[in-house]
């Protein structure tokens, strides 16, 4: 194995470890911070089942964002759905044999890949085009979109321009997953693609991208409206 392969493999392991570790650390921090008072945004559900539905609406349909701004919702929703489909489709690199549903989604995966890049560009331009969003957007907002967009672009490049050898790509990933690493396939685009993914993974738990886990800890959305019936005590200290 070449020195490059060794270093790259070490990087894959260490950054994945760092990303997962940081993510767990941050979420653990949220879970262990007390909630002193009942602050659901009213009207709020009166039952636990109601809260599950409210949260499901936010996570799966972006209900509040839909209410706020249809233009942002359409871009954001397409972006996230495409991201989910692309991630799901990538299971084919991690599982042998490839599950039926993942195999069936070949076309969906391609459409989603294109959708991901297009919606990232749309969201990027949106930030610049509206005076309000341009005022409060920060470098990290543009960075996150650019990074995700580039990951999508390099992926599409390997599909449509210079096709990568899918079999050896899978062999490499499976090697990592089973802790029997094999050398990195000699495709620069693939290497760049993987490096960008690692960067995104590490960036996630130390940035606003943590909203993926943080939303579940938002008291205004996950609390039940029962303060008169049931005395709320600070659940962590209690």
């Amino acid at each position: 194995m070449t020195l490059f392969s060794v270093l790259f493999i070490l990087l894959c392991y260490s950054l994945t470890f760092l990303s997962v570790g940081l993510f767990i650390y941050r979420i653990h921090g949220y879970a262990n911070t007390p909630v002193p008072l009942k602050i659901p945004t009213m009207p709020a559900p009166r039952t636990e089942g109601g809260v599950v539905l409210r949260m499901a609406g936010e996570v799966l349909l972006f209900t509040s964002l839909f209410r706020a701004n249809k233009w942002t919702w359409i871009g954001g929703y397409i972006f996230h759905v495409c991201l989910a489909v692309v991630l799901f489709r990538h299971l084919r690199y991690f599982l042998t044999p490839v599950p039926g549903l993942v195999s069936l989604m070949a076309l969906a995966g391609i459409v989603a890949g294109i959708g991901l890049v297009v919606s990232a560009v749309y969201l990027f331009v949106r930030r610049l085009a509206v005076d309000r969003t341009a005022y409060f957007s920060t470098l990290s907002d543009y960075f996150a979109l650019a990074l995700t967009g580039l990951i999508g672009l390099t992926g599409l490049f390997m599909k449509f321009v210079v096709r990568t050898d899918v079999t050896s790509a899978k062999a490499f990933v499976m090697g990592l997953v089973t802790f029997h690493p094999v050398p990195v396939p000699p495709d620069p685009t693939l290497v760049v693609h993987l490096l960008l993914v690692l960067l995104l993974m590490v960036y996630l738990p130390m940035s606003k991208l943590l909203h993926v886990g943080g939303i579940f800890f938002s008291p205004t959305r996950n609390q039940i409206d029962d303060s008169r019936e049931k005395r709320h005590v600070n659940e962590v200290e209690a």
């Binding site: 009213m42 954001g76 709320h232």
Partner: protein
């Protein structure tokens, strides 16, 4: 007093182009040392304030999950950007909820995140400097904590929580706001925000009794400190003397009279309002609320009913049980606290009081949902009861009721522009501009439906609208208490009670 320049009303709410710095100079008067010290805060800005402020922020991050999560997860999508009445009214981009939050978030990033510590420029992080503190003071006193932004946020991020934390941090280093802190001193010493002494209160109640008897020929009682009464009524103290608040208070008395329910106010706890919430200090909020528990125990009442006050209803409905509960010494048949609207509606539904709706036939009424009631509390047994219960009361006592535009009522109602501890003269410009979305929606129904009365259940809303609506050419007689409408329509001697 000079009239504040306003745009002519069109009945439409428009999203303005931004004008950076438009209200950067709006500054609430700072608290005097005695105001701060009365609440246990340093009298003046302490020497090592930068260090202490960051320490305080760290403490809050460890004890308030909402703040901790909200500092991290905002993606600056802008869902909230055009939802704040102060942004719509002032055009200052720092009044966009996301930008207001960024004022504190950029400091959070500097001291509490990896990116901000090592790459402050790239991470948009900055030190807590004198200028930044000034920005905090000015713009976190341009948020009325109405939570409208939190309805639209995909993560429920609540700028009210963030502004409470900012004020809490500033108080902890001796940078308090006069209006809130002075009033909190009064309620802790005198039992009410106005500093009304016991004998003044007794005189006022006596005056109400004489007044109602003169007008109606019926001896309606307005009792104070009556031990063994069934109900302890806690009104906002504005109900004792402000207009149109008093008309609502007179209505409460008539309802109790007709229901045959014995009730009393307490001179020890004669204030429902609790500005402890506005300054984000749970200890102060608890102290203020504790007087009510003590009064209820002392007077031996069976239940607590509260008057028309928005933020106080949020504190009571959502926080009392945690702060001053459990209420196992009260009759478990009743919800604690009970809102006066719940109490009245129940009587009406049971036919326990007689109503003559025609008494309000000269009025075409609309209802302004007060922000803290709408988004911070509930009423009745169903979600959304806070919208339906007061409306049902109004519809039971008035023949002519119409709604304002649906984008301005119920859970997306616009704040009156004077809540959150901003009901102070030096912020009048801000208050007038912040009222513009509501003024537009009101103007629309005045033109189309002939509305001549806007009813509401919040002491701050009433005081704010009577002051600012004239700037839009709308008379202060537009503003009414819900229980003032009840007062007009309840037939005294019509039923013999429960």
């Amino acid at each position: 007093m000079a009239k504040i320049k306003t745009e002519p009303l069109t009945g439409k709410i428009r999203v303005p182009s931004i004008e950076p710095g438009a209200t950067a100079h709006y500054r609430a008067n700072p608290a005097k040392p005695e105001h701060n010290e009365a609440l246990g805060f340093p009298g003046e800005k302490i020497a090592n304030w930068e260090v202490k402020a960051i320490e305080k922020m760290g403490e809050i991050l460890d004890t308030n999950r909402a703040f901790r999560v909200y500092m991290d997860i905002c993606v600056r999508c802008g869902a909230c950007a055009d939802k704040c009445h102060y942004f719509l009214g002032t055009k200052d981009p720092n009044n966009m909820p996301v930008a207001r939050q960024e004022l504190i978030r950029k400091v959070y990033r500097r001291y509490f995140t990896i990116g901000g510590k090592y790459f402050p420029e790239q991470a948009d992080a900055c030190d807590l400097t004198e200028d930044v503190l000034d920005e905090w003071y000015n713009y976190f006193h341009q948020c009325s904590q109405c939570r409208r932004c939190s309805v639209y946020c995909p993560y429920g991020i609540d700028t009210a929580e963030v502004s409470m934390v900012a004020r809490d941090i500033m108080d902890s280093i001796g940078v308090g706001q006069k209006y809130c802190n002075e009033i909190l001193g009064k309620v802790l010493n005198e039992g009410n925000n106005l500093g009304l002494a016991k004998n003044a209160l007794a005189n006022t109640l006596e005056f109400f009794e004489e007044d109602v008897e003169e007008e109606t020929g019926v001896a309606v009682k307005y009792p104070m400190d009556m031990k063994g009464a069934d109900v302890l009524l806690i009104p906002p103290s504005a109900d004792f003397f402000s207009s149109p608040h008093v008309d609502g208070f007179i209505g409460y008395g008539k309802v109790f009279h007709e229901a045959g329910v014995s009730w009393t106010v307490s001179s020890y706890a004669s204030e429902f309002a609790n500005f402890g919430m506005f300054i984000g200090d749970n200890e102060t909020m608890k102290k203020v609320a504790m007087r009510i528990r003590e009064a209820a125990l002392e007077l031996g009442v069976k239940r607590i009913v509260v008057g028309e006050c928005g933020h106080a209803w949020r504190v009571a409905y959502s926080f009392w049980n945690t702060l001053i509960g459990p209420f196992d010494f009260l009759d478990p048949k009743y919800k604690t606290p009970t809102h006066m609207c719940e109490f009245t509606l129940d009587l009406i539904n049971r036919g326990a009081i007689k109503i003559d709706k025609s008494a309000n036939d000269d009025l075409v009424v609309t209802f302004h949902d007060s922000c803290n009631v709408a988004r911070g509390s509930g009423m009745g047994n169903k979600p959304g009861g806070q919208f339906d219960v007061p409306r049902d009361v109004i519809k039971a006592v008035c023949n002519n009721f119409v709604e304002m535009d649906e984008e301005t009522i119920r859970e997306v109602t616009f704040c009156c522009g004077g809540g959150g501890g901003l009901l102070t003269d030096e912020l009048l410009d801000l208050r007038v501009k912040g009222a513009s979305p509501r003024a537009e929606a009101l103007h629309d129904v005045m033109e189309r439906k002939g509305v001549n009365t806007m009813a509401m259940i919040c002491a701050i809303c009433k005081a704010q609208f009577t002051k600012v609506l004239p700037n839009y050419g709308i008379g202060m007689d537009m503003v009414a208490s819900v229980h003032q409408l009840v007062s007009n329509a309840v037939v005294l001697g019509g039923k013999k009670g429960v």
